[in-house]
């Protein structure tokens, strides 16, 4: 990896970052040991996981979903796995235990 990164001579002095918004390129999912998996059939679309996520990685998508029991939802919650650090706040707060923290196996 270090081969493709710039040498100390090429870097801006004082570790200043000259491009705004560069944090987007920092995929914090590398920290994750547990991955939240949402059970779309159990989920009641209450939005609490979306509200509690400290990283804004719960996505509220305009994606209709029909549960096995036949209930129709206009929205679906999914996880942005690029930035989710696996803290588990969503699973802890979910009132219907629809989110399971599954160990990452790489």
């Amino acid at each position: 990896m270090s081969k493709s990164l710039p040498s100390w001579r090429e870097l801006p002095i004082g570790a200043v970052i000259l491009q705004p918004g560069s944090t987007v390129r920092y995929k914090t999912h590398e920290w994750r040991t547990l991955r939240p998996v949402i059970n779309q059939d159990k989920c009641i679309r209450c939005r609490l996981c979306w509200a509690y996520c400290p990283e804004g990685t719960i996505l509220e998508l305009d994606k209709p979903y029909t549960t096995k029991a036949g209930k129709v939802y206009n929205i679906t919650y999914e996880v942005n796995y690029d930035y989710c650090k696996g803290c588990g706040v969503c699973a802890y707060e979910c009132p219907v235990k629809a989110i399971e923290m599954v160990p990452e196996v790489r």
């Binding site: 040498s7 002095i13 004082g14």
Partner: protein
């Protein structure tokens, strides 16, 4: 000759800050530094200096505010002593790593406990590994001139590091000497205000002080290491031009006495004046003084040059590192420098003048006599521990 005015060391520093047209001064009072910023506040109140004085709640905040203000491209000054320097420790690393050209004056003072407001070099030496350019003056004129030199060095695009200047608490800070004061016009001609570093600017947004993970941190440390090393060239250029402009000559070190003296003392700060007086008074042709002015980066080449012909070297340390294999920090620097250059030299460490105990001509006489005696002994018989000068047994 230029007109001279009687000034205390602290006033001399404050006048230099005025000459540098500093924009922001953030400081917290502590003896013996306080009268530096008091004097600056007076200049600002009188309209003699257009600067913002920030009254902060601690030294940690004083240097933090300096970091923030420097990041906007302003010219910054702060000053402290002893416990205040200790409280700044954390931010000192941040200032040097962020490569902000802050200038700070350390009015050197002992560290507690016991509480002691008097002079030694404990505070200065405790921050010698924080990545700052560091220099120490011997008299008030030099303390004044050092501040002007400091801005020139700090803001040079080849350096961009904070610079600490130092003067001995009370022995210099509160002692009055005749000073040739540098004017604002002269000062700004020597060290013009230019934004040579990355600054916070809404039109060109940048991020400062961000996370540097294991893929990035190491490169910035190497960058910083090189910058501090290279600041020596800039220092040499600066003192050369300073001499041309102001007629006063400085170097990273100053040698006093016969070049071929067998006994050479190494010292820093005002004590050097007493050693010079001893050499003059006793016409001790056999004794030389090597005064270290630039402490970081350590002037290894000149240490070698002036010590290689000495029979025996006595280092006078005004700070103590208990438990270390060396005792005094200056001794450690000298020993490492000589060893790196394959010079096997008799070097003896003397711990002197801690907590404001004066280092008198009598003490210096004792040190020189001890060195004359040890000079005749084989190297293996030299003391393995530092010798404490004037401590009651």
């Amino acid at each position: 000759m230029k007109h001279k005015v009687p000034l205390s060391g602290n006033s001399a520093v404050a006048y230099a800050v005025k000459a540098m047209d500093v924009d922001v001064v953030s400081a917290y009072p502590i003896t013996p530094q306080t009268t530096i910023v008091e004097k600056i506040a007076e200049f600002v109140a009188n309209g003699e200096l257009d600067a913002k004085v920030i009254h902060v709640e601690s030294e940690h905040s004083a240097l933090s505010a300096a970091v923030g203000a420097s990041a906007t491209g302003a010219r910054i000054f702060t000053a402290s002593s002893s416990q205040g320097i200790a409280l700044m420790y954390e931010i000192m690393f941040i200032a040097s790593s962020m490569r902000l050209p802050i200038v700070m004056t350390i009015a050197t003072r002992a560290l507690s406990a016991p509480i002691n407001i008097w002079n030694d070099h404990s505070d200065f030496m405790a921050v010698s590994d924080t990545g700052w350019v560091m220099m120490m003056a011997e008299n008030n004129q030099e303390a004044h001139d050092d501040v002007v030199l400091a801005y020139r060095i700090a803001e040079d695009p080849r350096v961009l590091l904070p610079v600490a200047t130092a003067l001995d608490g009370f022995f210099m800070t509160h002692t009055i000497e005749p000073i040739e004061v540098i004017s604002r016009e002269e000062g700004l001609e020597f060290a013009p205000k230019k934004k040579t570093w990355y600054t916070l600017d809404p039109d060109n947004p940048v991020t400062m002080g961000a996370l540097g993970d294991p893929n990035w941190y190491f490169e910035f440390k190497k960058q910083q290491y090189e910058a501090l090393k290279n600041s020596r060239t800039v220092f040499d250029e600066a003192v050369k031009e300073f001499e041309k402009k102001f007629g006063r000559s400085y170097g990273p070190v100053e040698y006093f006495g016969n070049e071929d003296a067998e006994v050479v003392l190494v010292a820093m700060g005002h004590v050097s004046g007493n050693i010079k007086a001893f050499i003059e008074k006793t016409s001790a042709g056999n004794v030389g003084l090597l005064r270290v002015k630039l402490y970081r980066p350590f002037p290894e080449d000149l240490i070698v040059k002036h010590l290689e012909n000495a029979e025996i070297v006595g280092v006078i340390d005004r700070a103590l590192v208990p438990g270390s294999p060396y005792g005094g920090p200056l001794y450690s620097d000298v020993i490492v420098t000589l060893s790196k250059n394959n010079l096997s030299k008799k070097v003896v460490d003397f711990i002197a003048g801690l907590g404001g105990r004066p280092v008198t001509l009598g003490h210096i006489k004792n040190i020189v006599e001890k060195l004359e005696e040890l000079k005749l002994k084989p190297q293996k018989d030299l003391p393995k521990e530092p010798l404490f000068v004037g401590v009651r047994e």
